[in-house]
Symmetry: D2
């Protein structure tokens, strides 16, 4: 058994691990490496490795090193806080983003934004390029859509986020958008990630439908290794055998990612559940679990939405939700604008 | 039952389906659509829909009825509320259960119970028969353990819940235990479920590692169809590709089950995450999502626990958590004792 | 990095591992334990651990020991061969079992057996106690069914296998059945496994819907540690996100299990796919992958089957399949009766 | 589209559904069953079925049409056969592709190709752009690599296939490559798929790690709707809870896809299993299940491979495998060159 100590481990921490190993019946050998110390437990004994993971300043048990470096909590003690238009993600802040799934028209965006303004929304979402499973489904308004959301957001003093789908769109997006969004299907579009590493705007990176926490962090590392440290991770549900909801929202990602990384992690309950009446309880749960933000679909008239209306909140529902999570946040040491 | 025919279906194909339905006891009605034809089988009869799928030019077969009846929300509008020792599960109540994974000794149970009493715990958990993956692992104290937990609980005016593993143990459990617990691995031990239908005590039924919501409700139906309506469902994590945590806690189960059924649903964050520092945020999240209760592992000295110490809270951690969730519950319209 | 050598490893094998580690940039330390030798690679280097797993007599990389012992290939070099009524499972033999899902009547069993006899079937399957998801579905004929299958099998000089569901049924099954079958839902019914360890008959142990290879072997270990070494493992599909078929048949289990264990592994393509027209190609594939046997559902008149008719072959289909797999087996070094 | 109403549905609920269907462009027909009512929406219109699920007292909504048309078996009775350099995929032909994971050097490609030539390989694979999880891992030789594989293939009279990662690379790939390969991570890179619809070369489309059969066919539809009908589907393992192998190879995909579509389906056992000694049995199994081709990693010296050596066959192993599958193919009515 190998117990890898954190860089901050004191000699006492190391001694405690060695003693714990010996108490369990191992022979303990401490090997001081250049980067860090590893305690080797020799012997063939039934133990629960998690017992060791929970000791002070133990970084990992058995596997030697994580493959991500810049994204790792180890490389930076304090939380990364990303601020856009006065909204903060990370640290003690829980930032909010809202808006329709798809940009349909100026009127639709403006009516929605107007109502969201009353709930204090400062960042507007809306898709102009839509990754649709079927080639026959509506594919989005394209650049025309980006122009609309930019103009509407400006009118309402909001910032803009929208999903980018390929390298060739970066220049266009830089003109209209404040936060680049990488969708779940592109989480491992490595060429796109590399190029976003050279962009001077925050990136929301959504977890792929079957991606592990480690893979999500490795994808963040692609962006960061290009020089862009403003990465906001986003849990939006994974694919499991359960088909009642669109995906299975994995809220445990929140405390896990916050332990492994200094990057903020937000939650998208709309895509995760795919059902409007599940968005509210899951949003509250995400805040109670300590998430750094939410991105929620809201449409001024969901029944007429071109796309994903079934998972969009009515503005009044968003407003109620907003009031609830504002109460929950301080209980878990967080603050919502 | 609906049998949707393919576009190529001939009149003969359709006739054959109709006759097959009638042979099974349905009344068959053919409805010719523009795109394709649907044969409607009227009646409530148990059949295997795949028998129909294999007929020529059948495109899809759709069951019209949910298979659970007594457990269905349809059969009972108001929430079932189950009360044990003054603790209520369901409706506006969120009940709490706490205690160690395994009963190790009188002293261990008593010390733990003493501390839990200060946090207002009224139902004590502890395993006497342990379903261990390995035959070489500690299998529990057996009936001796049940005697210990009963005696300790009595001293502290607590009720008792413990996991039952087979039909042959029912009589023994009736002597010592107030709530029977059926573990995830036994969720489809149908013989056990049937027998628990004749027991006059509440049953906590844990969701299997790869069981759907519908299967969980069908297993509840096994118990209820025997006459025992006091079933408490329990989400405790499902098995997915993500291996960082022991299982993936599926909190969306809460609003889904509450829509489909009138039975209370509680959450076991200890087994779901397998890591002590994830139990607290996930407990808060469960309450914020509207769960009807929590069952949490607490040990007076987790580092010395025989089993699953890594996921057990220290009593002081439980106490902190208790204070937090008491604040969250009223925000979502719930009440914690 | 820890490389655990097999007990059969020679000094040369160990040296090769050490040299390979050093070639990759590690410092290698050999630690001779009492039970076996571990080579410790010191250093923080990116390698693919599978490169090590493929070296001669390397047992495992990183994790120290497997938790199963009696079932492990290490504990027994040669394959276990289990023989019932002249049919052999394991080693170079591929044994066949066939029959209906459920025992419905004497006539149904007899007609089916008569036709299977012509295809050289020597072991008859048929369920008397059925684990049904719904309490309202047909639960089997019970002991009456066991009497029928025994009597029919005797008439056709066949052996009998049937599924046992709980400890209390063991005595009854010993009277009628030659091979005990443990279903997927009971793979971790540890009480049942323990008791089957004291039975003097072979046991078919089916893999649970979400059980890993290691857990399957651990369950076999439960039976073997009681003294019964006649365990036949059975792959029957796992639960995944893909819902077109009932389950996802995992044929890679065959070469994996054969490497990890000396026990025979057979395949149940009927339950895995749930669709008759998929049974034939998957049976052929299983044989080509080197399985030690097949258990296939056949009904003399599938359209009238009480249960799972949709996945049952017609006798003539079984006969065709039989001819095909008899040709495939010798290509992969196996023999079918 | 079928909207199944719940038992509690009032006449008003039903009317609302009918009107909603008509508002979306369908013709609505109400059919009153004994148990419940079904509203039939006639027409082929893209809608989100969840919009209907959220209406009052709607129990279930059923889509009547598959979303892929050009790829569907319905649209073309005979199998599509794709021929490249004399090798045929589809119909009664099983085509073979082999080569290393990554193009490392001219020498490596040439030595490998030389040996593969002796096993009658006519299509050479090799990656020049590698989608690596880590930004710090080798990313491939790029265009230089494509030049090498083209030149080596020409010397050995072979065709070339290599993985393309983004739209911007299409022009480059058209110069060097005979079959475009779309990796699992790009199966839903819709922009890339659309552009490949305008290319006059066959495309191998690999199934995503968590993609359903239907999604795979929808992605093929993206390519075909652009005018390119030469799509070869490829099963390469899905992500499940089982971690012993890299992925879980889903061979049932073969008979399922062949029923749903006329497109050829091949198998990549190297990426699916990630372990050399599993490639051979799984290749045999794939052929026995009736696959239309195999793509296998072979390296003249796997131990020195830059990438994925652990899953690459030695040339002599490939040769043995070749001989075995040539014997299996005719048993299942197929032919290997």
């Amino acid at each position: 058994m190998l117990v890898v100590m954190s860089r901050r481990a004191t000699e006492e921490d190391i001694k405690r691990v060695a003693e714990f190993l010996e108490a369990k019946g191992f022979k303990a050998l401490v090997s001081h490496g250049k980067a860090r110390t590893v305690v080797h437990g020799i012997g063939v004994i039934e133990v629960d490795q998690r017992d060791f993971e929970l000791l002070d300043n133990v970084e990992e048990v058995i596997r030697l090193t994580s493959n991500y470096k810049l994204a790792a909590r180890e490389s930076q003690g304090e939380d990364t806080i990303i601020e856009v238009n006065g909204v903060k993600f990370g640290g003690k802040y829980t930032g909010l983003i809202a808006g329709p799934c798809t940009i349909e028209s100026y009127e639709q965006m403006d009516k929605t934004a107007q109502q969201l303004e009353e709930s204090n929304v400062k960042i507007l979402r809306g898709g102009a390029f839509k990754p649709r499973t079927s080639p026959y489904a509506f594919q989005g308004l394209g650049e025309e859509g980006l122009k609309i959301i930019r103009s509407v957001a400006d009118n309402h003093k909001m910032a803009v986020t929208s999903e980018i789908m390929e390298v060739g769109q970066i220049e266009m997006f830089e003109k209209y958008v404040d936060i680049m969004q990488v969708g779940a299907r592109n989480m491992q579009n490595f060429n796109l990630l590399k190029e976003l590493g050279h962009v001077n705007k925050p990136v929301i990176l959504k977890r792929g439908l079957s991606s592990t926490y480690e893979e999500l962090l490795m994808s963040a590392e692609y962006i960061m290794s290009g020089g862009n440290n403003q990465v906001i991770l986003c849990e939006r549900g994974i694919r499991t055998f359960e088909k009642y909801t669109r995906n299975t929202l994995d809220l445990t990602a929140i405390p896990v990612i916050k332990k492994l990384s200094h990057l903020p992690i937000i939650v998208d309950p709309s895509h995760a559940t795919g059902l409007r009446d599940k968005v509210e309880p899951m949003s509250r749960a995400a805040v109670a679990a300590g998430c750094d933000g939410l991105i929620i679909e809201v449409h001024y008239e969901p029944d007429c939405a071109v796309c994903d209306g079934a998972q969009s909140l009515y503005p009044w529902q968003y407003n109620e939700l907003y009031k609830e999570i504002k109460q929950i946040a301080p209980i878990v040491g967080k603050e919502i604008l």
